[in-house]
Protein backbone atom coordinates (compact mmCIF):
# COMPACT_ATOMS: atom_id res chain seq x y z
CA UNK A 1 0.00 0.00 0.00
CA UNK A 2 1.32 3.42 -0.85
CA UNK A 3 1.06 6.03 1.90
CA UNK A 4 0.92 9.67 0.81
CA UNK A 5 4.22 11.56 1.08
CA UNK A 6 2.86 14.25 3.38
CA UNK A 7 1.86 11.55 5.87
CA UNK A 8 5.25 9.85 5.65
CA UNK A 9 6.89 13.21 6.27
CA UNK A 10 5.37 13.39 9.76
CA UNK A 11 7.21 11.19 12.29
CA UNK A 12 5.18 9.45 15.00
CA UNK A 13 4.66 11.57 18.12
CA UNK A 14 7.51 11.54 20.65
CA UNK A 15 4.86 11.40 23.33
CA UNK A 16 3.85 7.95 22.19
CA UNK A 17 7.08 6.33 23.41
CA UNK A 18 6.64 7.79 26.87
CA UNK A 19 3.06 6.72 26.95
CA UNK A 20 4.16 3.13 26.30
CA UNK A 21 6.89 3.30 28.93
CA UNK A 22 4.45 4.67 31.50
CA UNK A 23 1.84 2.04 30.64
CA UNK A 24 4.35 -0.73 31.47
CA UNK A 25 4.54 0.36 35.09
CA UNK A 26 1.83 -0.24 37.65
CA UNK A 27 1.91 2.48 40.26
CA UNK A 28 2.86 5.51 38.21
CA UNK A 29 1.89 9.00 39.24
CA UNK A 30 1.50 10.85 36.01
CA UNK A 31 2.30 14.51 35.64
CA UNK A 32 2.22 13.94 31.91
CA UNK A 33 -1.46 14.45 31.25
CA UNK A 34 -2.51 17.32 29.01
CA UNK A 35 -6.10 17.48 30.15
CA UNK A 36 -8.03 18.49 33.29
CA UNK A 37 -8.39 15.99 36.14
CA UNK A 38 -11.87 17.35 36.81
CA UNK A 39 -14.96 16.05 35.06
CA UNK A 40 -17.18 18.40 33.09
CA UNK A 41 -19.52 20.42 35.36
CA UNK A 42 -22.56 18.35 36.25
CA UNK A 43 -24.97 20.88 34.76
CA UNK A 44 -23.26 20.54 31.37
CA UNK A 45 -23.35 16.76 31.62
CA UNK A 46 -27.06 16.72 32.47
CA UNK A 47 -27.75 19.02 29.52
CA UNK A 48 -26.08 16.43 27.28
CA UNK A 49 -28.13 13.63 28.85
CA UNK A 50 -31.28 15.70 28.54
CA UNK A 51 -30.65 16.41 24.85
CA UNK A 52 -30.34 12.67 24.23
CA UNK A 53 -33.53 11.96 26.15
CA UNK A 54 -35.35 14.46 23.99
CA UNK A 55 -34.00 12.73 20.91
CA UNK A 56 -31.76 15.57 19.75
CA UNK A 57 -29.55 13.30 17.69
CA UNK A 58 -29.64 14.95 14.26
CA UNK A 59 -27.07 17.15 12.55
CA UNK A 60 -27.11 20.81 13.45
CA UNK A 61 -26.39 23.72 11.10
CA UNK A 62 -22.90 23.35 9.60
CA UNK A 63 -21.62 26.27 11.60
CA UNK A 64 -23.16 24.97 14.83
CA UNK A 65 -26.46 25.70 16.57
CA UNK A 66 -27.39 29.37 16.23
CA UNK A 67 -28.13 29.60 19.95
CA UNK A 68 -24.68 28.27 20.82
CA UNK A 69 -22.95 30.67 18.42
CA UNK A 70 -24.83 33.55 20.02
CA UNK A 71 -23.70 32.42 23.49
CA UNK A 72 -20.12 32.11 22.26
CA UNK A 73 -20.30 35.64 20.84
CA UNK A 74 -21.49 36.87 24.24
CA UNK A 75 -18.89 34.86 26.11
CA UNK A 76 -15.83 36.09 24.18
CA UNK A 77 -16.73 39.73 24.83
CA UNK A 78 -14.93 39.24 28.16
CA UNK A 79 -11.72 39.24 26.10
CA UNK A 80 -12.88 42.29 24.11
CA UNK A 81 -13.52 40.03 21.15
CA UNK A 82 -16.55 41.04 19.11
CA UNK A 83 -17.73 38.51 16.52
CA UNK A 84 -20.99 38.14 14.64
CA UNK A 85 -22.58 34.76 15.43
CA UNK A 86 -23.93 34.42 11.89
CA UNK A 87 -20.86 35.29 9.87
CA UNK A 88 -17.82 35.06 12.08
CA UNK A 89 -18.10 31.98 14.29
CA UNK A 90 -17.64 28.32 13.40
CA UNK A 91 -18.35 25.57 15.93
CA UNK A 92 -16.05 22.59 15.42
CA UNK A 93 -15.21 19.13 16.72
CA UNK A 94 -12.68 20.37 19.24
CA UNK A 95 -10.36 23.28 18.60
CA UNK A 96 -8.23 20.60 16.90
CA UNK A 97 -10.65 20.31 14.01
CA UNK A 98 -10.78 24.09 13.69
CA UNK A 99 -6.98 24.16 13.45
CA UNK A 100 -6.88 21.39 10.88
CA UNK A 101 -9.55 23.11 8.78
CA UNK A 102 -7.72 26.43 9.09
CA UNK A 103 -4.47 24.91 7.85
CA UNK A 104 -6.26 23.51 4.84
CA UNK A 105 -8.18 26.73 4.25
CA UNK A 106 -5.22 29.13 4.46
CA UNK A 107 -2.11 27.16 3.53
CA UNK A 108 -1.22 26.36 -0.09
CA UNK A 109 1.37 23.72 -0.94
CA UNK A 110 4.79 25.23 -0.34
CA UNK A 111 3.47 28.05 1.86
CA UNK A 112 5.62 28.70 4.86
CA UNK A 113 3.97 28.57 8.29
CA UNK A 114 5.92 29.93 11.24
CA UNK A 115 5.35 27.92 14.41
CA UNK A 116 6.92 29.18 17.63
CA UNK A 117 8.39 26.45 19.77
CA UNK A 118 8.21 24.78 22.16
CA UNK A 119 4.55 24.37 21.38
CA UNK A 120 1.69 21.91 21.24
CA UNK A 121 2.69 18.92 19.16
CA UNK A 122 -0.11 19.07 16.56
CA UNK A 123 0.74 22.34 14.82
CA UNK A 124 3.70 21.18 12.75
CA UNK A 125 1.99 17.98 11.55
CA UNK A 126 -1.10 20.09 10.75
CA UNK A 127 0.99 22.31 8.51
CA UNK A 128 2.58 19.32 6.78
CA UNK A 129 -0.75 17.56 6.20
CA UNK A 130 -1.97 20.74 4.51
CA UNK A 131 1.08 20.64 2.22
CA UNK A 132 2.74 23.62 3.90
CA UNK A 133 6.28 24.10 5.01
CA UNK A 134 6.69 24.54 8.78
CA UNK A 135 9.24 27.04 10.01
CA UNK A 136 10.34 26.60 13.63
CA UNK A 137 10.66 29.83 15.58
CA UNK A 138 12.35 29.04 18.89
CA UNK A 139 11.33 31.09 21.92
CA UNK A 140 13.76 31.51 24.79
CA UNK A 141 13.70 30.89 28.54
CA UNK A 142 15.33 34.30 29.15
CA UNK A 143 12.15 35.86 27.72
CA UNK A 144 9.96 33.55 29.77
CA UNK A 145 9.15 31.77 26.50
CA UNK A 146 7.23 34.77 25.13
CA UNK A 147 7.57 35.20 21.37
CA UNK A 148 9.50 38.33 20.41
CA UNK A 149 9.97 40.38 17.25
CA UNK A 150 13.61 39.35 17.35
CA UNK A 151 12.77 35.62 17.56
CA UNK A 152 10.59 35.99 14.46
CA UNK A 153 13.25 37.97 12.57
CA UNK A 154 16.06 35.57 13.55
CA UNK A 155 14.09 32.61 12.26
CA UNK A 156 13.33 34.32 8.96
CA UNK A 157 9.59 34.45 9.56
CA UNK A 158 9.18 37.44 7.21
CA UNK A 159 8.92 34.93 4.37
CA UNK A 160 6.07 33.07 6.05
CA UNK A 161 2.44 33.42 5.01
CA UNK A 162 0.98 32.30 8.34
CA UNK A 163 2.05 32.48 11.99
CA UNK A 164 0.78 29.87 14.42
CA UNK A 165 0.53 31.32 17.93
CA UNK A 166 -0.40 29.65 21.23
CA UNK A 167 -0.63 31.60 24.50
CA UNK A 168 -1.22 30.65 27.30
CA UNK A 169 1.18 28.03 26.04
CA UNK A 170 1.31 24.28 26.15
CA UNK A 171 3.95 23.08 27.23
CA UNK A 172 5.60 26.07 28.91
CA UNK A 173 2.67 27.70 30.72
CA UNK A 174 3.89 31.04 29.34
CA UNK A 175 1.45 33.87 28.74
CA UNK A 176 1.93 37.07 26.78
CA UNK A 177 0.98 40.56 27.85
CA UNK A 178 -0.53 43.15 25.53
CA UNK A 179 2.81 44.93 25.11
CA UNK A 180 4.59 41.68 24.30
CA UNK A 181 1.89 40.77 21.80
CA UNK A 182 2.25 44.22 20.23
CA UNK A 183 5.72 43.21 18.96
CA UNK A 184 4.31 40.11 17.32
CA UNK A 185 1.44 42.14 15.86
CA UNK A 186 3.91 44.67 14.48
CA UNK A 187 5.87 41.89 12.78
CA UNK A 188 2.69 40.34 11.38
CA UNK A 189 1.44 43.62 9.93
CA UNK A 190 4.85 44.57 8.57
CA UNK A 191 5.31 41.28 6.76
CA UNK A 192 1.66 40.62 6.01
CA UNK A 193 1.33 37.40 8.03
CA UNK A 194 -1.96 35.81 8.85
CA UNK A 195 -2.13 34.74 12.51
CA UNK A 196 -3.78 31.57 13.79
CA UNK A 197 -4.09 32.14 17.53
CA UNK A 198 -4.84 29.08 19.65
CA UNK A 199 -6.27 30.48 22.88
CA UNK A 200 -7.70 27.26 24.30
CA UNK A 201 -6.13 28.00 27.72
CA UNK A 202 -7.35 31.62 27.88
CA UNK A 203 -9.60 30.95 30.88
CA UNK A 204 -6.63 29.46 32.74
CA UNK A 205 -4.63 32.66 33.10
CA UNK A 206 -3.40 33.24 36.65
CA UNK A 207 -1.63 36.56 36.59
CA UNK A 208 -3.34 39.47 34.86
CA UNK A 209 -6.00 39.14 32.19
CA UNK A 210 -5.77 37.11 29.03
CA UNK A 211 -5.20 39.28 25.97
CA UNK A 212 -6.07 38.06 22.51
CA UNK A 213 -3.79 39.23 19.73
CA UNK A 214 -6.92 39.80 17.62
CA UNK A 215 -7.72 42.83 19.80
CA UNK A 216 -4.53 44.66 18.77
CA UNK A 217 -4.68 47.32 16.06
CA UNK A 218 -4.60 45.92 12.54
CA UNK A 219 -4.92 42.34 13.77
CA UNK A 220 -8.61 41.44 13.68
CA UNK A 221 -8.69 41.26 9.89
CA UNK A 222 -5.67 38.93 9.75
CA UNK A 223 -6.36 36.70 12.76
CA UNK A 224 -8.41 33.60 13.42
CA UNK A 225 -8.86 32.84 17.13
CA UNK A 226 -9.31 29.27 18.34
CA UNK A 227 -10.91 28.30 21.59
CA UNK A 228 -13.10 25.55 22.97
CA UNK A 229 -14.56 23.76 25.94
CA UNK A 230 -11.90 21.12 26.61
CA UNK A 231 -9.62 22.92 29.05
CA UNK A 232 -11.77 25.57 30.72
CA UNK A 233 -14.84 23.38 31.16
CA UNK A 234 -13.01 20.05 31.46
CA UNK A 235 -14.88 18.71 28.44
CA UNK A 236 -12.00 17.18 26.46
CA UNK A 237 -13.86 14.02 25.52
CA UNK A 238 -16.90 15.92 24.29
CA UNK A 239 -14.79 17.34 21.48
CA UNK A 240 -16.11 20.84 21.06
CA UNK A 241 -14.30 23.96 19.98
CA UNK A 242 -14.79 27.04 17.86
CA UNK A 243 -13.05 29.50 15.59
CA UNK A 244 -13.60 33.26 15.45
CA UNK A 245 -12.54 35.21 12.42
CA UNK A 246 -13.49 37.65 9.68
CA UNK A 247 -16.42 36.46 7.48
CA UNK A 248 -14.25 35.40 4.53
CA UNK A 249 -12.02 33.30 6.79
CA UNK A 250 -14.93 31.56 8.49
CA UNK A 251 -16.63 31.05 5.12
CA UNK A 252 -13.49 29.35 3.76
CA UNK A 253 -13.13 27.16 6.85
CA UNK A 254 -16.80 26.25 6.78
CA UNK A 255 -16.48 25.14 3.16
CA UNK A 256 -14.10 22.38 4.30
CA UNK A 257 -15.90 21.72 7.57
CA UNK A 258 -19.28 21.23 5.87
CA UNK A 259 -17.89 18.47 3.65
CA UNK A 260 -15.58 16.79 6.15
CA UNK A 261 -17.51 17.09 9.41
CA UNK A 262 -20.99 18.41 8.44
CA UNK A 263 -21.46 19.67 11.98
CA UNK A 264 -19.88 19.30 15.40
CA UNK A 265 -21.41 16.62 17.69
CA UNK A 266 -24.92 17.68 18.63
CA UNK A 267 -24.84 16.25 22.16
CA UNK A 268 -21.66 18.16 22.88
CA UNK A 269 -23.19 21.36 21.53
CA UNK A 270 -26.02 21.10 24.06
CA UNK A 271 -23.51 20.52 26.83
CA UNK A 272 -21.49 23.52 25.66
CA UNK A 273 -24.56 25.72 25.56
CA UNK A 274 -25.33 24.88 29.16
CA UNK A 275 -21.67 25.30 30.11
CA UNK A 276 -21.70 28.86 28.81
CA UNK A 277 -25.05 29.63 30.39
CA UNK A 278 -24.50 28.30 33.87
CA UNK A 279 -21.02 26.95 34.55
CA UNK A 280 -18.95 30.12 34.80
CA UNK A 281 -18.52 29.63 38.51
CA UNK A 282 -17.28 26.07 38.07
CA UNK A 283 -14.60 27.37 35.70
CA UNK A 284 -13.47 29.91 38.29
CA UNK A 285 -13.35 27.21 40.97
CA UNK A 286 -11.26 24.90 38.80
CA UNK A 287 -8.97 27.77 37.87
CA UNK A 288 -8.46 28.63 41.55
CA UNK A 289 -7.50 25.04 42.24
CA UNK A 290 -5.03 24.93 39.35
CA UNK A 291 -3.59 28.20 40.56
CA UNK A 292 -2.93 26.78 44.04
CA UNK A 293 -1.31 23.71 42.57
CA UNK A 294 0.75 25.93 40.28
CA UNK A 295 2.12 27.85 43.23
CA UNK A 296 2.70 24.60 45.08
CA UNK A 297 4.70 23.12 42.20
CA UNK A 298 6.69 26.29 41.57
CA UNK A 299 7.58 26.64 45.23
CA UNK A 300 8.59 22.97 45.44
CA UNK A 301 10.96 23.38 42.48
CA UNK A 302 12.32 26.51 44.10
CA UNK A 303 12.98 24.57 47.33
CA UNK A 304 14.75 21.83 45.36
CA UNK A 305 16.95 24.38 43.68
CA UNK A 306 15.52 23.41 40.29
CA UNK A 307 15.30 26.36 37.92
CA UNK A 308 11.72 26.91 36.80
CA UNK A 309 10.35 30.07 35.26
CA UNK A 310 7.06 31.35 36.60
CA UNK A 311 4.42 29.75 34.41
CA UNK A 312 1.35 31.99 34.40
CA UNK A 313 -1.19 30.05 32.39
CA UNK A 314 -2.55 26.67 31.28
CA UNK A 315 -1.72 23.87 33.76
CA UNK A 316 1.94 23.26 33.07
CA UNK A 317 5.25 24.11 34.66
CA UNK A 318 8.36 23.84 32.51
CA UNK A 319 11.39 23.37 34.76
CA UNK A 320 14.94 23.19 33.49
CA UNK A 321 16.44 19.76 34.06
CA UNK A 322 19.66 20.36 32.16
CA UNK A 323 21.23 18.15 29.51
CA UNK A 324 19.31 15.22 28.12
CA UNK A 325 15.67 15.75 29.05
CA UNK A 326 14.54 12.47 27.48
CA UNK A 327 16.97 10.53 29.61
CA UNK A 328 16.01 12.48 32.72
CA UNK A 329 12.33 11.72 32.13
CA UNK A 330 12.99 8.07 31.42
CA UNK A 331 15.10 7.58 34.54
CA UNK A 332 12.61 9.47 36.67
CA UNK A 333 9.92 7.14 35.44
CA UNK A 334 12.00 4.01 36.01
CA UNK A 335 13.37 4.96 39.41
CA UNK A 336 10.61 7.00 41.01
CA UNK A 337 7.45 6.03 39.11
CA UNK A 338 6.70 9.60 38.12
CA UNK A 339 5.79 10.26 34.49
CA UNK A 340 6.56 13.64 32.92
CA UNK A 341 7.01 14.66 29.30
CA UNK A 342 10.49 15.67 28.06
CA UNK A 343 10.53 19.21 26.69
CA UNK A 344 12.25 18.31 23.44
CA UNK A 345 9.08 16.53 22.32
CA UNK A 346 7.59 20.02 21.88
CA UNK A 347 10.20 21.20 19.41
CA UNK A 348 13.26 23.39 19.29
CA UNK A 349 13.83 25.30 22.48
CA UNK A 350 12.22 22.64 24.63
CA UNK A 351 15.43 20.66 25.15
CA UNK A 352 16.72 20.46 28.70
CA UNK A 353 13.21 21.04 30.08
CA UNK A 354 10.35 18.92 31.36
CA UNK A 355 6.64 19.51 31.02
CA UNK A 356 5.01 19.03 34.41
CA UNK A 357 1.23 18.97 34.27
CA UNK A 358 -0.44 19.95 37.53
CA UNK A 359 -3.85 18.78 36.38
CA UNK A 360 -3.60 16.23 39.20
CA UNK A 361 -5.01 16.22 42.72
CA UNK A 362 -2.86 17.84 45.38
CA UNK A 363 -2.24 14.60 47.26
CA UNK A 364 -0.72 12.96 44.21
CA UNK A 365 1.11 16.13 43.32
CA UNK A 366 2.65 16.23 46.78
CA UNK A 367 3.90 12.66 46.51
CA UNK A 368 5.17 13.20 42.97
CA UNK A 369 7.10 16.32 43.92
CA UNK A 370 8.68 14.50 46.87
CA UNK A 371 9.79 11.74 44.53
CA UNK A 372 11.21 14.24 42.05
CA UNK A 373 13.08 15.85 44.93
CA UNK A 374 14.56 12.49 45.96
CA UNK A 375 15.53 11.84 42.34
CA UNK A 376 17.17 15.25 41.93
CA UNK A 377 19.02 14.91 45.26
CA UNK A 378 20.40 11.52 44.28
CA UNK A 379 21.85 12.80 40.99
Amino acid sequence: MRIADRVERVPPSGIRRFFELAEEKEEVISLGVGEPDFSAPWAARTAAIDSLERGRTSYTANRGMRELRAEIADHVRRYDLDYDPDEEILVTTGASEALDVAMRAFVDPGDRVAVHQPSYISYVPGVVFAGGDPLAVPTRPENDFALTYEDLANAGAEDAEVLMLCYPNNPTGATMSRSELAEVAEFAVEHDLMVLSDEIYAALTYEGEHTSIATLPGMRERTVVFNGFSKAYAMTGLRLGYALGPPEAIRAMNRIHQYSMLSAPTTAQYAALEALQSCGEAVVEMRDQYDRRRRFVLSRFDEMGVECFEARGAFYAFPYCGGDDERFAEELLRQEDVAVVPGSVFGTGGEGHLRISYATGLDELRTAMNRIEAFVDAR
Binding site: I15, F19, A22, V33, E35, Y120, R293, R295, S299, L362
Partner: protein, 162 residues
Protein backbone atom coordinates in the same frame (compact mmCIF):
# COMPACT_ATOMS: atom_id res chain seq x y z
CA UNK B 1 -9.32 37.27 47.37
CA UNK B 2 -7.56 38.45 50.52
CA UNK B 3 -5.11 36.16 52.29
CA UNK B 4 -7.42 35.23 55.12
CA UNK B 5 -10.23 34.35 52.74
CA UNK B 6 -7.86 32.27 50.64
CA UNK B 7 -6.68 30.33 53.68
CA UNK B 8 -10.29 29.79 54.72
CA UNK B 9 -11.04 28.45 51.26
CA UNK B 10 -8.21 25.92 51.58
CA UNK B 11 -9.23 24.88 55.11
CA UNK B 12 -12.78 24.37 53.87
CA UNK B 13 -11.58 21.80 51.39
CA UNK B 14 -9.04 20.21 53.72
CA UNK B 15 -8.69 21.32 57.34
CA UNK B 16 -5.74 18.96 57.85
CA UNK B 17 -3.49 20.70 55.33
CA UNK B 18 -0.28 21.64 57.13
CA UNK B 19 1.05 25.17 57.32
CA UNK B 20 3.95 24.50 54.96
CA UNK B 21 1.67 23.24 52.22
CA UNK B 22 -0.80 26.07 52.78
CA UNK B 23 2.10 28.47 52.33
CA UNK B 24 3.26 26.75 49.16
CA UNK B 25 -0.20 26.89 47.62
CA UNK B 26 -0.90 30.49 48.45
CA UNK B 27 2.54 31.97 47.96
CA UNK B 28 2.39 33.37 51.52
CA UNK B 29 5.09 32.69 54.08
CA UNK B 30 4.34 30.25 56.87
CA UNK B 31 4.18 32.94 59.49
CA UNK B 32 1.45 34.81 57.61
CA UNK B 33 -0.47 31.58 57.16
CA UNK B 34 -0.37 30.95 60.90
CA UNK B 35 -1.48 34.50 61.62
CA UNK B 36 -4.41 34.10 59.25
CA UNK B 37 -5.51 30.89 60.90
CA UNK B 38 -5.15 32.38 64.34
CA UNK B 39 -7.22 35.42 63.46
CA UNK B 40 -9.88 33.23 61.85
CA UNK B 41 -10.07 31.33 65.11
CA UNK B 42 -9.97 34.27 67.53
CA UNK B 43 -12.56 36.18 65.49
CA UNK B 44 -14.80 33.16 65.73
CA UNK B 45 -14.98 32.66 61.95
CA UNK B 46 -13.55 29.17 62.23
CA UNK B 47 -15.38 27.45 65.09
CA UNK B 48 -13.76 24.06 64.93
CA UNK B 49 -12.33 21.27 62.82
CA UNK B 50 -14.11 17.96 62.52
CA UNK B 51 -13.86 14.78 60.52
CA UNK B 52 -16.61 13.99 58.06
CA UNK B 53 -17.59 10.45 58.95
CA UNK B 54 -19.44 7.80 57.00
CA UNK B 55 -20.90 5.99 60.00
CA UNK B 56 -22.19 3.15 57.89
CA UNK B 57 -18.59 1.96 57.45
CA UNK B 58 -18.18 1.40 61.18
CA UNK B 59 -19.24 -1.73 63.02
CA UNK B 60 -21.40 0.11 65.47
CA UNK B 61 -24.81 1.64 65.57
CA UNK B 62 -25.04 5.35 65.09
CA UNK B 63 -28.36 7.05 64.62
CA UNK B 64 -29.03 10.48 63.20
CA UNK B 65 -32.38 12.25 63.10
CA UNK B 66 -33.66 15.52 61.74
CA UNK B 67 -36.31 17.03 64.00
CA UNK B 68 -38.82 19.67 63.01
CA UNK B 69 -39.66 21.80 65.99
CA UNK B 70 -42.49 24.28 66.42
CA UNK B 71 -42.47 26.68 69.31
CA UNK B 72 -44.73 29.34 70.74
CA UNK B 73 -43.18 32.62 71.77
CA UNK B 74 -44.40 35.02 74.39
CA UNK B 75 -43.41 38.48 75.57
CA UNK B 76 -40.59 37.13 77.77
CA UNK B 77 -39.33 34.31 75.57
CA UNK B 78 -37.74 34.69 72.11
CA UNK B 79 -36.14 32.24 69.70
CA UNK B 80 -32.71 32.91 71.22
CA UNK B 81 -33.86 31.90 74.68
CA UNK B 82 -35.34 28.66 73.44
CA UNK B 83 -32.32 27.92 71.25
CA UNK B 84 -30.03 28.13 74.26
CA UNK B 85 -32.02 25.56 76.15
CA UNK B 86 -31.92 23.15 73.21
CA UNK B 87 -28.37 23.71 72.01
CA UNK B 88 -26.86 22.78 75.37
CA UNK B 89 -27.80 19.10 75.00
CA UNK B 90 -24.79 17.13 73.73
CA UNK B 91 -27.15 15.02 71.61
CA UNK B 92 -27.93 18.08 69.49
CA UNK B 93 -25.43 18.18 66.64
CA UNK B 94 -26.87 21.22 64.94
CA UNK B 95 -29.65 23.67 65.60
CA UNK B 96 -30.98 26.12 63.08
CA UNK B 97 -33.87 28.59 62.98
CA UNK B 98 -35.38 28.26 59.54
CA UNK B 99 -38.15 29.76 57.45
CA UNK B 100 -41.22 27.77 56.41
CA UNK B 101 -43.63 25.41 58.10
CA UNK B 102 -41.74 24.98 61.32
CA UNK B 103 -39.32 27.03 63.41
CA UNK B 104 -36.25 25.00 64.34
CA UNK B 105 -34.43 22.26 62.45
CA UNK B 106 -32.56 20.12 64.94
CA UNK B 107 -30.08 17.39 64.09
CA UNK B 108 -29.80 14.85 66.81
CA UNK B 109 -27.32 12.00 67.09
CA UNK B 110 -27.40 8.95 69.34
CA UNK B 111 -26.38 5.33 69.70
CA UNK B 112 -29.79 3.89 68.93
CA UNK B 113 -33.25 4.84 67.72
CA UNK B 114 -34.46 4.28 71.22
CA UNK B 115 -31.89 6.77 72.55
CA UNK B 116 -32.94 9.43 70.11
CA UNK B 117 -36.69 8.90 70.60
CA UNK B 118 -36.31 9.01 74.35
CA UNK B 119 -34.22 12.17 74.12
CA UNK B 120 -36.87 13.92 72.01
CA UNK B 121 -39.74 12.71 74.18
CA UNK B 122 -38.11 13.41 77.53
CA UNK B 123 -35.94 16.45 76.90
CA UNK B 124 -37.24 18.39 73.91
CA UNK B 125 -41.00 17.88 73.79
CA UNK B 126 -41.58 18.87 77.46
CA UNK B 127 -40.00 22.30 77.01
CA UNK B 128 -42.98 24.59 77.70
CA UNK B 129 -42.61 26.66 74.50
CA UNK B 130 -42.38 23.60 72.24
CA UNK B 131 -45.76 22.95 70.66
CA UNK B 132 -44.86 20.21 68.20
CA UNK B 133 -42.01 17.88 67.22
CA UNK B 134 -41.70 15.72 64.10
CA UNK B 135 -38.78 13.30 64.12
CA UNK B 136 -37.26 12.04 60.84
CA UNK B 137 -34.68 9.29 61.22
CA UNK B 138 -31.88 9.38 58.69
CA UNK B 139 -31.91 6.19 56.65
CA UNK B 140 -28.94 6.76 54.37
CA UNK B 141 -26.38 9.53 53.88
CA UNK B 142 -25.23 10.20 50.33
CA UNK B 143 -23.37 13.46 50.79
CA UNK B 144 -22.25 15.35 53.86
CA UNK B 145 -20.88 18.90 53.86
CA UNK B 146 -19.84 18.70 50.23
CA UNK B 147 -18.32 15.24 50.46
CA UNK B 148 -20.03 12.47 48.47
CA UNK B 149 -20.11 9.05 50.09
CA UNK B 150 -20.51 7.20 46.78
CA UNK B 151 -17.77 5.54 44.78
CA UNK B 152 -15.02 7.88 43.72
CA UNK B 153 -14.77 8.67 40.01
CA UNK B 154 -11.89 6.72 38.53
CA UNK B 155 -9.26 8.73 36.72
CA UNK B 156 -9.74 7.27 33.26
CA UNK B 157 -7.33 9.62 31.51
CA UNK B 158 -4.41 8.29 29.51
CA UNK B 159 -1.23 8.43 31.56
CA UNK B 160 0.49 10.65 29.01
CA UNK B 161 -1.31 12.92 26.57
CA UNK B 162 -0.30 15.93 24.49
Amino acid sequence: MDDRREILELLLSNAREDTTDLARQTGLDEETVEECIESLETDGVVRGYQAIVDWSRLDEEHVQAEIELNVELDRETGYDDISQRIAKFPQVASLRLISGDYDFAVSVEGDSMHDVSRFVAEQIAPIPEVTQTVTHFVMETYKERGVSFGEKDDDDRLSISP
